[in-house]
Structures are given as C-alpha cells and as structure tokens.
Symmetry: D4
Subunit: 256 residues, 8 copies
C-alpha cells in the first residue's frame, strides 16, 4: 500500500466517525513525505508536529536545488524560509521566485504572507555582545519572527562594558526566554544567567581570532558557565536557538 492510499483511508475513517480528528492528527504527524527530484524528502507534516516550517539549510545545495525545494514547500506552508543564503545566491533565487524576501544581515530568504504578526504569547529577549555578532543574532531574531514570536533586541551589551548591560536590566527581565549571542570570550550568558530567572539559550559565535579557534573558546565558556540553567547550541547557530526559544514558549502555551 502506498502512502497516499494510507492517508486517504485514514481520512475516510475520520469522515465516517471511526477515527477522531485528534487521533488522526496524531497519526499524521509521523506519516507523510514525498520525494523531490530524488535528492531530498520533505516532511510536510513537520509544521503540524513542531510548529516550525521545514527550513532549508543553504550550504552545500545549488541554487537550483533550493528553488525546487521552495516550490514544493510553498504550496502547503504559509511561511517558507532558507538560511545561510549569501547575497549572490539570493540574486539567483530571486530570478526564479521574485517574491522571495531577503534579510541581508541575517542571510535568510523567505516567502512571507502579507501580514506577519506575532501569533504566540510571550517575548524572546535577544542580547548580542558585539557588533560583529549581529549576523548570528539577526538569524535568530528573523527566524523567531517568521515563526510568529515577538522579539526584543538588545545589541552591543558585552561584558567589557558591564554598565551597558546593567542599564538594560529592567527591560531584559521582562522577557520570558533569553537568547544570548556572543563571540570572543563568550562571557555574556554567564553574567545574564546570574541576573535573571528565565531560561537562557547561549549562542557562541565564530567571531574572534587567534585562540578563539573559530568559536571554540566561546563555546567552552558557555558550556562551563557557573550560572546553572543555560542551554547551549552550536557555534553560529542562531536558527537553532530561535527554534528552542519558540518551543519553550509553545510549551508554556500548552501548559495553560
């Protein structure tokens, strides 16, 4: 039995009252995907399951592959996005999909609906240590906003000028979950973790030189933080931090 047949049978069962919609939804979550030109299988139901669209990771894919995947995905997802898209790649994508929007600093391409408003409660506070960390911080910010979350940005609040951070402490304390982005020595999450009582997601960046070893120093700093309650993601992984922050806020909504 092919998968489409299986889905049709399931939906008939729902129609006949033999299976409840809730139960059918649960089944569908782990069910369907279809081949795209044989080089990638897209999981359309992932949106149902995780609340985030299937996102295209740009590196290692040709512009042609990205275009084809976007075209398959756009029919079913309100928001389609691709990360780590360099400007020259975007230029090629735009020729085929003119309505594609480009967030240059975040290096994200997206198809977005006319109105994109926060549709989840809660706020993600986003702190970045230095100007050079902004591309990663914006990758997190745009990802969160495209996923329907409200974001509040605090840029350039690194620990070498601790007063910059402290003067924003009140505003930071109002966020429900914090993403803290820092390169070089990566100490900002430790200080923030000691100031707040909400979950902190730490994002090391590859900014630095010499003994930063492309972000290894910042990564180790964050993993060894003396402030408990910090979850770390991969170096430069602004996208993953936004997904985790979103899942935390969605959990909160479910618990209500």
């Amino acid at each position: 039995m092919t998968q489409p047949e299986a889905i049709r049978l399931l939906l008939q069962a729902v129609a006949h009252g033999e299976v409840s919609p809730d139960s059918a939804l649960e089944k569908l979550k782990h069910f369907d995907f279809e081949p795209v030109e044989d080089f990638a299988r897209i999981d359309h139901h992932r949106t149902l399951r995780t609340g985030f669209p299937e996102v295209i990771w740009g590196p290692g894919k040709t512009p042609e592959q990205i275009i084809e995947i976007i075209k398959v995905m756009r029919d079913r997802n309100p928001v389609v996005m691709a990360t780590r898209i360099e400007p020259n790649v975007y230029a090629q994508l735009r020729e085929q999909i003119p309505e594609l929007h480009y967030y240059a600093l975040a290096r994200i391409c997206a198809l977005v609906p006319a109105r994109l408003e926060p549709r989840h409660s809660g706020t993600i506070g986003l702190l970045s240590a230095g100007t050079a960390d902004l591309p990663v911080a914006e990758e997190a910010a745009i990802t969160a906003e495209l996923s329907g979350f409200q974001v509040k940005r605090f840029w350039d609040v690194g620990v070498a000028g601790i007063h910059r951070l402290l003067s924003n402490r009140q505003a930071i304390a109002e966020a429900d979950v914090l993403i803290v982005v820092a390169g070089m020595e990566g100490a900002l999450p430790s200080v923030v973790g000691g100031l707040t009582d909400c979950p902190v997601i730490a994002v090391p960046t590859s900014i630095g030189y010499g003994a930063s070893f492309n972000g290894l120093a910042a990564l180790l700093t964050m993993l060894n933080s003396c402030a408990a309650g910090i979850g770390v993601v991969n170096i430069d992984n602004g996208f993953g931090a936004a997904v985790l922050a979103g899942q935390i806020l969605r959990t909160a909504q479910k618990l209500r």
Copy 2:
C-alpha cells in the same frame, strides 16, 4: 551605609506604604549576601530570584566547609542540597548533620522537608541511553524533584535498540520538557528531537572509552544535532539540565 542598614530602611519603607511589596521584592533580588567564615559568600535571596536553592557543588571543598555552608543555609531555605558527594564524604557529613539524606546513585546529599511534593505544574521527561549513564540522569532527576517538579523516567532507551525508544513514544510525548542523557556517541537527543515538539535538553556523559575522550564525542554530537531545538549543557551536568528544565516550566507558569 552597610547592607543590613539598607535592607532595614527598605523594609521600613514597605511598612510605611512608601514602597510596594512587589517593588521591594525586586530590589531584594539583587541585594544581600553574607560572608561564611570568609571562604564563601552565600546568596540567600537567590531562591527568591531563581526559584532554586543555592546548591553546594561538592568537589574542591572539604567536608568541614560543606558542613558549615549547609548550617548557614538551612536556617532560611526549606531545601538544601549538595551535589557530587562521594559516599565517603557523605559519611563524614552525616556525623555532623544526621538528618542529611543521601541519594547514592545521584551522589546528592539533601535536607528535605517531611513531605516533598511537586509544587509546579508540568512534567519533566527524563531519558537515559544506557545503564552507565544513570548517575548523571539521577542527578538531574533528584535535583528536579527536590526543586518541586514532577519527573517521569525512561531508562535504557538508547538508539542501538531503536524499538525500545519507539515503544515509549506515546508516554514520552506527554512530557512538557525532555532531558536526554547519553554517553558514548550521544545520538539519542537527535532522534528524540525529531520525534517530539517540546524543548529538549541534551546532557552528554563521560561514559565511553577511547575516542569518546571523556564525553567530548557525545558533546559534539549533541551540539551538531540535525534536529533543531536542542539545548546542550556541560558533560555530566545533570544538575544544570534540571535547573534549565525547571526554569522552562516556571516560565510557562508565569505566562499563564
């Protein structure tokens, strides 16, 4: 002006209606601490601020130091706990503080009230890959329970026998936040992250040999997970994972 004076003035202001209790609480969060025999300053108000007690990290402290810190802390905190306490250290502590309870597998000592029941909503699902990972998994479990959270354990569900994990999928899906503990290749969080849509906290353990490099292999696996939405803590840091899970559930409560 000394700190005690400052606090007294603040409380008088509250008494006179000049400062609201909420506002005073906010001020107190970043205020007081006192010296303990000159070797450690305890932050009594941390409980107010983060919802977790100040926890004593055992390694590098003499039994005498641990006893003294417990004695200072017990007057104000309902729950006092110390982590990474080896059996022989516990034996020394118990002589001075007989009511100290020892969770042998978790290597945690604690003073606990007569009745310790979950006082927060939400459930923490705790998965561990192998039998040898249990000490770290139990450190997370006991920490969460001592902090008032409900924990559901799924032991020995590593990826080499994927059916063990899949046969528990329904039960796992009911948790609000997951802590996934794994040593050796550390692949469990990736698989779990693809099955669920709640936040996943990954804890690498130092279990393994040879090219596991004391947990480095598992740590790198978790940081590079192809499943987005995973926050990683330090190797063997079951305690930190529990704190982060607790903060996520508390955030949910605040959002309500």
Copy 3:
C-alpha cells in the same frame, strides 16, 4: 637482473611446465610495476590481487600527471578511474582523453567499457543522512558500480526524521552490506547498526559547521557507536567505503 627479465623467465618456466599457472599468478601478485615519467610507479597487478583497479587520487596532481597515468593504465585495465576531480580539472582531462566519462556529483572521472554490468553477487545498500552528504555518498556508489557491484541507494534518511528511515527498513534489510554516510552529528550508523545484522561501514562527512570541526564530530560519533559491528573510514572517504564493501562481498564469493 631487471624485472622484465624476471617476468619473462617466470613465464617461460610456466610454458615449460616447470611452474604451474596458479603458482605463477601468486608470484606475479607481488612482482611488477613500472615507472611513469619517474613520478609514480603503477602497480598493474594490483587488479589481480585486490579486484579493484589502481585508482588515481586527484588532489595534489597536475592535470598533465593525471593524463599520463591514465594513458599508461588504460592499456591493461578494463576500468580506469580518478577521484576528487573538480569540474575545471575534468575539462582539461577531456581535451586529451575525450572518451573520459564524468560523474559530476561524485567528482569521479572514468574510462568505462560499453557495457558495465554487475559481475559480483550481493547488494551494497547505501544510505545518506542529508542532501549535502550526496557527493560523498555518490563517490561510494559510483566506485562500487565501476568495480562491478550492485548498489541500492537510500538518500535523505537522517535520524531527525526517524520515520523516513523506518519506512525503508524492509528494503534496507535486503542489502548484504551497508554503507552509511552522514555529516553533522553522524548518528545514522548507530541507528542503522541496531536495526540490521549485516556489516555496516560508516562514512563521516565534513558537512556541518561550528563544532562539527569539518567532520570530526561525525567521526567521533561513529567510532563511539553503541551498536557493535560498525567499521569507520576517514572523513569524506566514500571511495574507501566502497572498496571495503566490495572486499566483503568478494570474501563471501570466495567462501562459497
């Protein structure tokens, strides 16, 4: 005595019945090679000995050197192949050897006979975790096919969507040896190793970023797999995995 003389004497001995053909073959396996312009010695009898042609590893060789080596090898080997050939290098090779075929995704150049059909029994199952791992996976696939083995491909079955893998389980189980290619966290071989009872060859790829350290994370994951019975090859070494898979199937044939 020069080598050609030695070989001639050996063959005369065979002609005179003084040496049996089998015995002469055995001697020849460890005997002959000839200088090619003084920069590489080609081992023509390697095909006899291992069943695989001497393969040219492209990096670090000039197009001129590659052309010259191909020309020497083509006189005696039915299949001649060169790996890690970038498109611009191929363009130069083609000018001198127009009949050279290029497998672009696998980055392999080859001289192939008109009909290339599997001439060994058994099937190599080839799994790859993500789209970006395809160049390495195809290097393995093309190498195996050029060596006369039957290959069955399963692309994009990474662990973050475990149902993709499980829905192919029946087909995967029919392979006689598996090559599993994965970058990022490299967890796929561990899961596959738990599902099957045939030999598994794991190939880490350099796909990933940050703490993947150019494939080190995937490599460590595979070496530490909790599923026993997995042999690991170098990062991005699709070629070596195919050779090992081929040797395993040839061993099976010899045992019959």
Copy 4:
C-alpha cells in the same frame, strides 16, 4: 496490549498457518525486551537478529548489577559474556556464579557450553603488533571464538621488524577476514592492507606514551591509511572488531 500477549497471538497465528515462520521470525526481531530490576532492558531477541549474544559491558556497572543481568540472560542464551572485567571484579562474580569462566588476558567472563566449537565457516586472522597489545587482541579473539568463529592468531608482527610479518604472509593470506591490532604508531593495518585482498578491520590500542595521546595517534594513522578497504573501530575495541568480522563471515554464508 502487553508485549507477551502480542507474542502469544503471533505464535498462535503461526500455529494456524496464518503467518509463515519466516515472517514471524522477522517480526520477532524487533519486538520483545523486558525490564531487569529497572536499570537495564535486555534484548533477548538480539541473538536472533545479529547472531551475537547481548554482551554486558563491564565498566560503570557494579558486580551486583552484572550478576543480576547474567542471571536473566543465561536462561535463554547458550553463551553469555561480559567484557572489561578486572580480576577483582571477577572474584566477586565467581562467588555468585561459580561456573563463570575467566579469560584473564582478554578480561572477559563467560558462561560457555561444555563443547564450544566453530559453527560458522570462514577464518578470522588476528594480527597484533606488540606484546602490550595482546589484551585488546585477545578480547577480539575470545569474542570471536565465543561467537562460534574460527580464529588464527599472529602475535608480535609489528612493522619495525617487517620480516616477521612477511614470513607469515602465506598463512595470513588464507584468512577470510583480518583483524589487525596495533598501538603506538598503528602502522600495521596499512602494510597488511597492501598485502591482502580480504577485508581488514583495524583496531587502534591505547598502548604508547607521550604523543600517542592514549591511542589517538594509532587511530588517526588507521583512518588515514593509504591502503583502501580498511574499516576502523574505536580505540581498544577488540570486541567491536570481532562482531564486525563475524557479521562479514555471516554475510558470506547468507550469500551462498
């Protein structure tokens, strides 16, 4: 429906001719396991699936835990074995299970039937570079023998005295699969891989000092071997090498 019920129903279906035995076997392979005192789930059907018994990895388990697991497993498996058992641990195990046999050099404990003869065709050739590598080599040898394979040992044939290796070349060439164990610089598999045309499994050991970094040097050597067709396992993982060798020989039997 509990698992035992499910199995009973399946077997009844077989009895009634509704399900063929082959098909039922296939289903059982991914089916059953049972809790052992809540700390480990044993996969009894693994023997059916992989041809190897579930093996107990000693480190990180108390003697009591090992004894309990052995007792559960012995009812159904003809051979039960535990690896990495130090002599003092064995002494404790023997008190409870006097019939337990100890292979001191291999650090393996096992319950073995009265007659243990090779029950698979094919021979595993086992080479070790130095005297200090013997514990790892013997772990491989005993594992293979307990699993029913024939083993031929070649000890102390390291590359610094290449004539030792070459004088055994004829005998080595008769093996169907080779396991090559080496510490220090780990060069032996490269040389062996060039001499033979059967699959080679390389096992780095932690023998060495200084820049051997506990086996890292030997591991890297083996992964970078210029001889294609070598699969590498973790440092000191003699057990895993034996399992892989066994799976290769079983594949050969199936192909017949």
Copy 5:
C-alpha cells in the same frame, strides 16, 4: 679563569676605584652560580636582578633534593620559599628544617624572617571567582606577601552573582594592579577589565569538569577577552601572577 677569581678581580677593581659600584653590580647580575650536588645550579644573584628569591618548584623533586636546595639558599636569601608542596611532603621537610612555615591552602613552604612587612609601595588586589579557586589565589597572595608586597583579597566574587563584584567596586578600584583568579568559564577577568583602568593579570584554574578540560576553557576565555589590557598566565599559576604583579609595582618604583 674560574668564576670566583673573576669576581675577586672585579671587586678589587671596585676597591681601587677602577670600576664604579653601580657598574659592578650590573656585571654581577649575570655572573655567578654554583653547583648543588650536581643536580641543580642555583642562581644566587637572581635576587639582585629580579627582586624575587629563587623559588623551588616542588613537583618532580624528592624531599631530600628540596631540603638540600633550601639549605644552600638560606645562607644568602632572607626569604626562601617552595611551591606546590603537599602536606605529606611538608611533614618530611619539617623534620630536617623545623623552622619551615607551611601555608596549607597555598601549598607553600617558606623560611621567613621574624618580621615580614611590606617593603614596596602599591597594593595588589586579588580577586577569586569561587571557593574552589582559593588554593591558586592563595598561592598568588602568599607569594606576593613573601616578596614584600601588600595584598588585598576579594574572595568569591564570580560573575554569576555580579552584584557581589559590583558591591566591592570601590575597594577594587583602589588597587594598583589586579590579579583575577577564576576556573570554570573564567569570565571574571573580562568583567573586571571593563571596570578598571589598572593592569589586570588573569589566572585560569583547573577547577571545573567536563568541557572545562582541566582549565583549558578558562584559559581560552581569558586570552580572548574583549577587554584589552589583560595579561594571562598558565593554568593554576598563582605564583607567576604574583611575580608579574610584583615586577609591575617595582617598575613603578623605578620610574619615580
């Protein structure tokens, strides 16, 4: 000409007015040393040259060797000290040299004059992040005090409780040079470096676990500090930090 002769001639020249005392002092700085039982050459004039006594580094020396070196040095130096002396080693030293004083937390043994008072102007501020960092911090403190400098200690002021640090800011600002000792993530020097305008010497400690890699994480953090003007010493090198701090204060005195 032997060295004693050379020195005698030099001093005669001084006596005759042929060489000025200043000039002779300069010459002597690079001149004399004498063998001690053939296993170590002591540089008696080092005190003249650097203002610090020749210090005995304990590890790798037998108690007998340490005793012999102390005995040779004590005749000419007012203060003799040995670092990294474990309590059991001290017990052996004391039997031969009863007047040896032991600073247990700092693991330093020293022969000290009856009155040891600061004889240099300026103050060294010494900050430590956590209780477990105290042995290293005290090694620095005692070394500085034995060398005649005034030390002001600020213990347990780590960044996770930033208010502890800030409440001491005034006092810290009064120091002329700061030594900042921290393990785990090692972020304290970065924050301190942003708050002050005096030289900061950062000392990483090996305190931590897992991904702290015995102090590597803290070391990298300090080297990558975004606050310029921080000099880093080796992991756990409290002694070296004190020497550098002392040289800075001595430079200040010379400039006057």
Copy 6:
C-alpha cells in the same frame, strides 16, 4: 530620566559646588554611551577611564559602519584609531575621511593630531623574533605611540641567533616594560624573561606552518615559560599588548 538629563544634572551640581569635580569624574566613568545607528554603542567616557581611546576592531564590520563610528567618535576624542584594516578597506575609508592616516605594516588607520608626542613617562621596549612577525609588532608599536607612549624597537632578535639578542642587552635593559613578539616556537619571551627584571608581555603570532597550528605552538610556549613574570595575550594581539603595557606605565605614574 534619560542619560543626557542625568549628566546635565550632575554637571550643575558640580557648578554649584554640591559635587566635587573628582567625584563627578568618578561618576562619569561608568555612565554614558549613545546609540550609533543602532548597531554599536560607543563608550565616550572610556578614554577618561582607561586612558586609551575606544578603538574600532575592523574585522566583521563594513567600511560604512567603520566610517560612521569614526565620525561619531572624532568629535570628542583627540585620537581615533581602527585596527586590522586591510589596504582595500582603507582605500574605501579614505574616500570619506581623507585625513585618515594609514600605517600599512601595522594595518592601523588613525586620525592623529598635528603633533603627536609622548605624554607619558617610561619607555616600552618592543622585541620581535623574525621579519614575518613585524605586522603584529608594529600593531603594538603604533598603538602605543598613538596612546602617547615612547617606544623603542628591537627587530629580528630571535633565539636561533642568540648573539643578536645579547648584543642589545644593555639597550633592552633600559626599557621599563617589554613587549616580546614571536611566532614559530615562540621561545624569545622565555629568554628575555630570564635576562630582565621588568614586566614582560608576550605576544604569540600566527607565523609558522605545520605544527605551529596558526600560533598555538607559540602561545603554549609562552604560557609555559620557565621564566616567571610573563603575561601572555592572544595570538597576533599586538593591540592588547600595547594597552597592557600602557596601563603598567600609567600605574607607575599614579603611584608617584
């Protein structure tokens, strides 16, 4: 209350004699900063606090961002500088700010007053081991000179020709603080540290190849120096070394 208002009130208080100038200066040190196009907050009072201008770190910033920051900073600082500026970036900066001076070897851009003379007492001795280390050494030299310190250069005095160093010993001894720049094996600071009694700042460079691992070898050498009293900065961090040297000399001035 906005920050400008706060500053105005403070200055009025000074004008009215309510706050002393010294006290106001102290307050200002930790007070003001203003947003620049929302991507960086500049700390204008940092000059007051540390004696060094806020310096722009070039990498990761666009020429447009650098120009904008320079324009904001130039109104208040006598000297504005940007480091790690490649020639092509400078070409773009110069178009907008023609009076910008470029120190090509040091890769520093600066706005400098007509007369730039040392305004601090004391001399910084700058040693470099090889010709290839000059860019880093000059970064240190120019930074120090732009900050008002006197610099004396000793180029190409590496340890492989020890007589080159020794023949300059007298001149080197006259410096008040030394910066020692070396790549490859990085041994120069150890030798210099043994020859002098002033503070030594060691700067490893990324010059070298193979096992220098981009400066890691030199960095480790300097951290492990057997000569105590050496502070190490990050690889290639000539700027940071100059800042630390300057702070040491300023400390000396304050102590007077």
Copy 7:
C-alpha cells in the same frame, strides 16, 4: 667600538701572529651581522658556523624584501637560496635578479655557481611515499644538493605496496643517512627504520584529507614510531630535514 672595527682588529692580530687563525675563526663564528634596511639582520658568518648558507624563508615577506636580502647576501655567499617561493613570486624576483634559478617542484629559488658538485662525502637517501609528497621531498633534495651533498631519490615507495620498498632495499641500505617523506598515515619511516641501521629523519607532509588534519596524523605516527632512532621534523619541513642530514654527514667528516 663598532663591529667592523672589532673584526679589523681581530684580523690584524692574526696577521701579527698574536691570534692563531683557528682561534680567530672560532671568535668570528659568534660575531658579525649587519642591518638590512632595518627589517632583518643577516648572519653572514653562519655559513662558517653551520656549513649552510643563511636561507630566506619566503612566506610573510614581500618580493621586494626578498630581493633586497638576496642582494646583500650574494656578495659573500657562493650559494644563496630562498624557500617556499610560489611561481608568481618567482616571476617578480626574476625581473630584478635574472640569473636566479627556480626549482619549480621544490619551490626553491637559488643563485648557484656554474658548477655545483658534491663537496662532502656520504650519501643522503631520500624516500617519498606518494606522488603528492614530492614537493616536500624535492625541497629536501634540492636543499641538500645546493649545500654540497649527494642525494639518491626513491619516489613512490609507500607502505601500501610494500614490495616497491623492499625491491629497493639494497640500494637504500647504501645511503649513510635517510630522509623519509610521507603524508596521510605517515607509516613509511617506521618500516624503513626497521630495515636499516643508519639515522632516519622523518618528514610528515600535509598531504591527506579529513582526519589527517593537515599532517597531524602523519606527525603523530612518526613521533610514536615503534622503530627507535628516528628524528622527526615539522610538517612539510623538507628544508629542515636536509639541514639535519647535512649536519650528520659533516659530523662524520669531523670525526675522521
């Protein structure tokens, strides 16, 4: 007194019989050098002292700097050479110094006398494992030949085809010192070390990919060789190997 004056006085003393020529030579060895445009100090007497010319290491120097250094050196040295010179750099050098010879494979530029014949006894045997290792091997060969030594080349004798090496054993055994160049797993020196009784100098190359980590794997292999009597130089350091080989042969000559 300037250095030239010092040398003149020394030579006059020789002329007057006051200083023997031998003694003067000894003095001169540690005496003279002169500034070249202030960026490099050349040690003209190094040739006298070590028998090798001062060699210019190309990387990090501009063509102009290289030209200037060559011009200063050529007046006094019969042979002047520069290493690591890429073809485009050579093109620039040749315009100024047309008689400069370029060894393209070795990437060496040199001024050579009309006749360059071996002027030292003894032979250096040079083995390389693969074609891609030739640039490093040729750097060693040309350096040795330019220094007056006789070289015998054995190319492409890697361990994966051990018969290639063994068939040259007689010829190899006739060399007085061996340089063995190998990338990838770097096993060749171990095998050679076991076959010969002359000194072996091992040169790891950066040839390889993945877990070769740019030559680290080969380097560790060589350092851990089980064949004693092997000296290792830096990755890709063909030049250094040739210098060491030359010093060994010169020592032999002196001993005569």
Copy 8:
C-alpha cells in the same frame, strides 16, 4: 623449509666459498627470530643490524614476562636492558636475576659486563633544562653508555638563566652530537641549535602543568624551532634519542 635449515644451508655455502662472509652477514640481518613462550618474538640478529641490543620496553608487561625475555636474550647479547622499570618491578626482577643492575633515576635495569667502556669514537653531549627533566635525560645517558658511547652531561642549563648555558658553550661545542632534554616551554633546543653546528636531537618531557598538556607544549616548540637541523623524538623518549645519537656516530665511523 624451516628457518634453522635455511641458516644452516647458508652457512655451509659460506664454508664452501660459494657465499662470501659479507654477503652472508647481509642475508642474516633480515632472517632469524624465535618464539618466546608465544607472546613475543625476539630478533637476535637485530644487534648485528643496528648495533643496539633488543631492548625490553617495560610498561604493559608483567614482571614474569620481562624475566623470561631477559633469560632468552642474555645467552646471546653482551648487554641486555629494560626501560621504564619502576622500583617495585625491579624488586621483583632482582629476586629471579640477582645480577641485574638498576639505574634508579633512569628507571633502567640492565645486565652489564664487568667492564663497560666506550667502544665507539665520538661524544654525545647531553643537556637538560631543569632538575625535573633528569629522569628522561638519564634514560638517554644510560642507554647511550650501555650501548658503548661516551656521554658528557650538562644539567640544569635552561633558557631562563641563559648565562648558565653560555658559560658552558665551549664544552658543549666539543660534542659530536647533542641531545637536548626540556619540559615546560621546551625552548632549550632552539637556543642550542643556534649556537652549534652539530646535529641536535630534541627530547620534550612531560614536565610542567596546566597548558603544558603533558609535554605537548614542549613538543610543539621543538617541532617549530626556528633553528634548522633539529630532529625531535616522542615526549619523554630519552631512549629513542640515545639510539638516534648512536646511529649518527656509527654512521660517522662507517664513513671513515
């Protein structure tokens, strides 16, 4: 044909004048070895081939194994030695072989003839940087002396007190080959290499702490030495350095 037969035939051929003694010796070099209790094969002719006895590397061997190997070897070798023998192991060996001599500092056991005098010309100069490096330095010294070479020791001449080294320069220059032993930053070989024109063998030791990473820092320093002509051996490998030095001096003898 067994090996003994082969040898007998060879010797008969010599007796009959069919094979010259020289030629037979050459053949024998690669010929014979015999099993010792099946755990190690000893290469008796190695002495003929390399001039050094087969040496027993202690670690990983039981005292019983060592004793047995010594007993087999003593019948044919005038000198038998075992390295890395801890005092408690020696105590066990002495019970069985009372005439075994123990060099405690070098941790070497040896059977030595009544008179052990240098039987090779040339001198090995042995320098060590610090007292803690002596065990490694003595391992080299004793190995060389037991092999018949003359050794001259220079202890405690590390670079932090450069005058200690320089004052011995004349004596050092008289050695024919130098072994330089250093831990911590390992800079001594670079300085020595610049002072001398004989071959230098560098031995890093594991002495140090923190960022010395058990000798890695010293190893990297030596590999990156800016003084060409230095061969490096493994960390703590005093034995290997002595063998290499001996082979260099033997080469000199052969060249005569």
